[in-house]
Symmetry: C2
Subunit: 319 residues, 2 copies
């Protein structure tokens, strides 16, 4: 056991964090001052995502780098889901005094690596003592003025399309929770999501009318678009891509792979609605269409049947 | 006991929070989408501050509105300390499932009231389940391009000046921790700090060379300027304002009121260095001057004697 936060103290840890981050390129004022200062074009986009040990991650399934990557990916995917590009992230820790300093350094390394994958940087953060291991990441980015894509613009006649891996993280979680460590591709999809960051701005440029990233579950998150846009979304199950790895692994684990795809969160794939005439960006696959909401109100159908909400999405306070 | 988070669920709470926030004025996309979207002039400034129950606040000393105000004030004061103006805040909660929904609503009300005091808004946030009550506020603001004031520009010959109440929160904490509830002015200074937000941009416009807000303790935070600027800061104790309320209360509590002023944090007063020829904004009082750092390195003197670090500042991991 190496040095702990109690050993080196708050300002000692901050120095170590600053050493890991270095001087972020293109940033006027980086970590270590009262606030970070930077320029980016257009409007500012901001979102925060918090992960808690035991609830969002288990230390035996995610190393500290993974924790940093996952939390950072979750926050930055929200920027992409508005059609924006992340500029940087602030990482805020709540940690017990006995936490190893190297643990903090590795989380920051993970955050930095994930930020780098989206051409963003770690801007700074803060550190507080807590009995519960907590990592909260705020992502800040930019979108061309007036071009942000919300959840509420989907129109009857639009197509609904998916970009990025979907169901992989859920499959990886099943593998891990049954005590296995492979297939590696699925386990690592859970540990290190790969949101299709660039597909967000691409979708906005192609005229997307509504967009969301899948963090809670494909159907649960599509439902947010349906409700916000007051429409019915009809998904065509056979059109939803199910990767070979999912099919192969599902038979070994006696799971319907479509369950992973429809109910799985944590991949931060992007779902967008586009006018039927739009030319979709390469990464997107059409998986359904938007219709008028029926009398009963907005919702999501899968192959013509109303999805009841079962098997998709997760309510953290009722879980 | 009213409804809890477990009763209404994550999305039920989010709806209640959205109802409290309303539609923030001047914001393109407010709470309830993947991210907030807004425009502000100049460069973007961002900082995060986290408060933890039992460590940064005790429920018996701060009502939920106070908790929201204090966390929001701490984050927004960091924007002012760069010479910036806050545009909005994101509020992130870590909460047990048995938390009352009204508690969350009241924290948000406090955050909204404090944001309003700085002409800012609540942009959104998130909610995670945690055994430890945690409120993390990210403040985002703007500063004219190239005009941010860091900690590192203080020059020998500059004067050092203070704006805002200082020592009041520490005095209020002493009062509360000895079981009293008055004087109300001091208790409420602890519960609801009043950072001099406008003095930040005023200082920047007046040519401030370095600035910081006092969150950990006057001497501890001035020391950050001294170290970052590689200078010696000479404080003139008789020049430091000690409010009548502090003097009166100190005798009843048998405390040196200067201890509250020099060692007290949480008021989020602003300390800035200015060129000697600068015309100081109204709120600032000169309390010292900047000199060349001696051989031994940068530091802070009080009345010509090196401050040892005792009695000022707080290290959360060694406290």
């Amino acid at each position: 056991m190496g040095e702990t936060l109690a050993d080196v103290g708050e300002f000692g840890v901050i120095d170590r964090i600053k050493a890991v981050i270095g001087e972020p390129i293109g940033i006027d004022v980086g970590p270590g001052d009262d606030a970070a200062v930077f320029d980016h074009p257009g409007s500012t986009v901001a979102s925060v995502d918090t992960v808690i040990e035991g609830r969002h991650f288990k230390p035996e399934w995610c190393d500290p780098q993974d924790i940093g990557r996952r939390a950072t990916a979750a926050a930055m995917a929200d920027i992409a889901a508005m059609g924006g590009r992340p500029t940087g992230v602030l990482v805020s820790f709540g940690l017990p005094a006995e936490t190893a300093v190297t643990w903090v350094e590795e989380v920051i390394e993970g955050a930095k690596a994930e930020a780098d994958a989206a051409a963003a940087v770690v801007l700074g953060g803060d550190l507080a003592r807590s009995e519960t291991v907590t990592v909260s990441v705020t992502a800040i980015g930019s979108v061309p003025q007036g071009k942000a894509v919300t959840r509420r613009g989907a129109q009857p006649g639009d197509v609904v399309a998916l970009a990025g891996r979907q169901g992989w993280a859920a499959a990886g979680l099943t593998v891990l929770s049954r005590g296995f460590r492979s297939p590696r591709s699925l386990v690592s999809a859970y540990q290190r999501p790969a949101p299709p960051y660039e597909s967000g701005p691409d979708a906005a440029a192609a005229g997307a009318t509504a967009m969301i990233d899948v963090s809670d579950g494909l159907l649960a998150d599509i439902r947010h678009i349906a409700v916000a846009s007051d429409v019915l979304i009809e998904l065509d199950a056979p059109a939803i891509p199910v990767a070979d790895q999912l099919v192969e692994t599902s038979s070994a684990f006696n799971v319907d792979p479509l369950t992973w795809v429809l109910a799985g969160g944590d991949d931060h794939s992007l779902i967008a609605a586009f006018p039927a005439a739009a030319r979709l960006p390469d990464m997107f696959t059409v998986i359904g269409r938007v219709e008028e909401a029926p009398e009963a109100g907005p919702g999501v159908n899968v192959d013509g049947r109303l999805w009841s909400g079962k098997g998709g999405g997760h309510d953290h306070f009722r879980g």
